[in-house]
Subunit: 160 residues, 2 copies
């Protein structure tokens, strides 16, 4: 089973979900994100500490509200950020994009996800718009993103 949950957080997450603290609302698939603004990209190699599940080439996309968030440092409700992760193939002195691993999504809605600073998290497996990978209501996603509290919990920065 593919999971986005680091093993060390599994017990905590399961407990919190069990207590109903992180039920949250389901995050919708970000239809049309391929025509949104491209924020930045990065390759994570197979020997990176976060290779499971993040190895590959990823592209970050932002809808118009999220673009204003990157500019101001505060993301308004309605902001949607997509982490589009593809396999990467190194060959012939190139690194090329491969199949999609998953589409990660962050949605800002302070009333829907108050326990995670107003961010909802989800990931859709491969090219599926329905097969969901986040099983703990986003608590483990949020656990890492709290390191970026000063940036309103967003890791990426808009490349010029």
């Amino acid at each position: 089973m593919r999971t986005l949950l680091p093993g060390s957080l599994l017990a905590l997450a399961a407990a919190l979900v069990g207590f109903g603290l992180f039920a949250g609302e389901p995050v919708s698939f970000p239809e049309g994100y391929r025509s949104w603004t491209h924020v930045k990209s990065m390759v994570i190699e197979d020997d990176h500490p976060l290779a499971d599940p993040f190895a590959g080439i990823h592209h970050v996309y932002a809808n118009d509200k999220a673009v204003t968030g990157y500019e101001s440092g505060r993301f308004p409700d309605g902001s949607v950020i997509v982490f589009d992760l593809l396999e990467h193939t190194a060959a012939d002195a190139t690194v090329q994009e491969g199949e999609r691993k998953f589409v990660g999504v962050m949605v800002r809605d302070r009333s829907a996800w108050p326990q995670t600073a107003g961010w909802g998290f989800e990931a859709f497996d491969g090219d599926s718009r329905t097969d969901r990978l986040v099983e703990d209501g986003g608590v483990s996603c949020f656990a890492c993103h709290t390191a970026r509290k000063q940036q309103d919990y967003v890791f990426s920065e808009m490349r010029k």
Copy 2:
């Protein structure tokens, strides 16, 4: 001097420009392209045959007309495709984006550039909107792009 012209084509290009065959119209800087549709990306390593000048991580962007071109296989006048080339830095099991090397541009206008199948070519150095790198009216660019005549002279394909 940085040039985008492969050495083997230099004499031919100089001769053609000398004869005034490839004067063409100047290609404008593609203002606003960072919010256009992201087509695909690729890393070209330093030991690739095209490393000079193409080594780095590049992102391809398309305006709305060019998006219809990718879909139909025929790019209408007004199509603009941007090849945004950044330095790439490999460290700590990642490949990250660095400074911009140049912004390459293809513009479709069959009346403006009839000698190059209706495509105008330019490249803007670094973050400049005025320092131009293409010195032969695009003939050397076009020489490579003719290999993709069946794709209307465009190398990239829209990633899903």
